[in-house]
Amino acid sequence: MKTLLVIKKQEYEWLIDLFPGVHPLLVPICNKPFIEFLVDFAILAGSNALRIVSDGVLEDVEHYCENGSRWGVEISYGSMRPADDTHTVIEKNRRFCLEERVIIISGFLFIRYNKKSEYASLFASLPSGELLSCPNGSISLTGTSTTKTGTPGTLPFSLAALDSIGKYYELSMEILSTGLTHYVIPGYSSEENCYIGRNVVIPKSAEIIKPVIIGNNVQIMTNSIIDKNSVIGSNVIIDRESVISGSIVIDNTYIGEHLEVKNKIAAGNLLIDPQSGTSIVMEDPHLLTTMTQSRVAGALLRRIVHAVGATFLIVLQLLPWLLLRPILGMQGKWKRKREQHYTGLPGKNVTLTNTTIEGTGAASAFAKALSLDRFTLLFNVLIGKLALIGNLPLPVTPAIRRLPNSHEGYRPAVFSYAEAEEWPEIGIDAEIVEHYYAVHSDPLKDIAMTQKALFHRTH
């Protein structure tokens, strides 16, 4: 048995705005990429090969699924023209379809199935032709059955069209409430209807109510409630005293404190009401806290605290720096690079000298342990160009002409919160932790975080 998936760009295009940067076929449904449900189904139905055919770009899908060895099925890819009908697509893949029976799934469809049912023998015995159809597509079978059977009763699978955000939401809720045991859902499940990924921090005061699915690298802060029927993606922070219920929080999303997300989809800074389709951009994630905080006074205090901290470090590092800098310089291990970096103010950049210490000798190791590579940057704190701790300065590159919007609360600094927390220092993971502290830090916490950063850089 083989499976041929025919999905046209026109059918999935509507998802692109909702999940920018994610190929629609990889969009997560209950934290599992859409395509994996179809791969699972194809395998259950006895397929040893699967071909994905589309008129759209499949590059990201290929990168994700590769040749299918992860699932023990051979996955290949094909192209088609937008006007091609199913018959033409079969012709274009004749070699693939030639010898064995082929299940043809056409359209951007979700197939409801139950992993405990027996599909391989069923598909082998079904007569050829269309098995099921809906306005958005169909599932059909080619070739002749190998075993004799009567006409099948109701088929143990059905189709759900995916053509709007409302359907996407409904389907996710359906899986949560009735179908969690029907599919393979990612995460660790110590009890029924509860799937939790790796590196998930849940404090005692937080409340989790089943059914729930939580991804990897999730921080749920104190007194938060994850109420029933919620899907929390990966790299998500739910800040304190917020309530999530009947909602889907997509990967890489920060939910500010004291918020109530009910029957919504939160994706990055987008909040969507799946019933009406209304969406808003949450330009500021900590909506209610701004009312009480005096930002100006806070900023001045922070600058003073950071300057004092920097002065302390300069005094501490001066002697080692004076000793080691010339030695490493002579050994050619002290590398400097001057680069423009964003300050966070539009159109204003700052030139910083970044130092890297190379080699493994005693002098290098000692200099690295003392973070001497950041020594000269500390003077920028005194003149107020950099913070002591905040975000790693983002270099100005032709590729990103201005600071991306995702860098909310960006504050270039000598040390970064990501370093303090031992999170990956680049990429989306770092962004999310820096984002969190950009909203949350206060000057005192900053000093503690700087100590942590220094300590972690030593090890």
Binding site: L259, D273, I280, M282, L287, L288
Partner: protein, 117 residues
């Protein structure tokens, strides 16, 4: 934003028509103007018919208007919230602080009902 004193009922009511956006650029303006309006009445209806967008500073300004009105034993009621604006109020639980009406006239009427009973 446009302010007018509604005298159609027994109670003098400040009706404020909010336009397009209430955000960081005009939230302070709203708070300043509100202090002026407070000298004329304590009870307000914010008509959001023409309001398309609100951010946290806008929300903060409206909440601070409510707080001031409550200090003067008055109230701020909201009317005719568009879907996007309603979502912000719902998300932040600010919805619970306000009486919200779908029509401006209903909001005006509600003041009268309360004051007569």
């Amino acid at each position: 934003m446009i302010f007018h004193l509604d005298t159609s009922t027994t109670l003098p009511l400040g009706v404020v028509l909010l336009k397009k956006r209430v955000d960081a650029t005009n939230s302070i303006e709203l708070q300043k103007a509100f202090a002026q309006w407070l000298q004329q009445t304590n009870n307000f209806v914010f008509d959001c018919t023409e309001l398309d967008f609100i951010d946290s500073s806008g929300l903060g300004a409206i909440v601070s208007c409510l707080r001031k009105a409550l200090e003067h034993h008055g109230d701020v009621k909201l009317a005719a919230l568009g879907p996007k604006v309603a979502m912000v109020f719902e998300l932040t639980k600010a919805k619970k602080l306000f009486s919200i009406f779908s029509e401006c006239s209903e909001a005006i009427q509600s003041f009268v009902t309360v004051s007569t009973t």
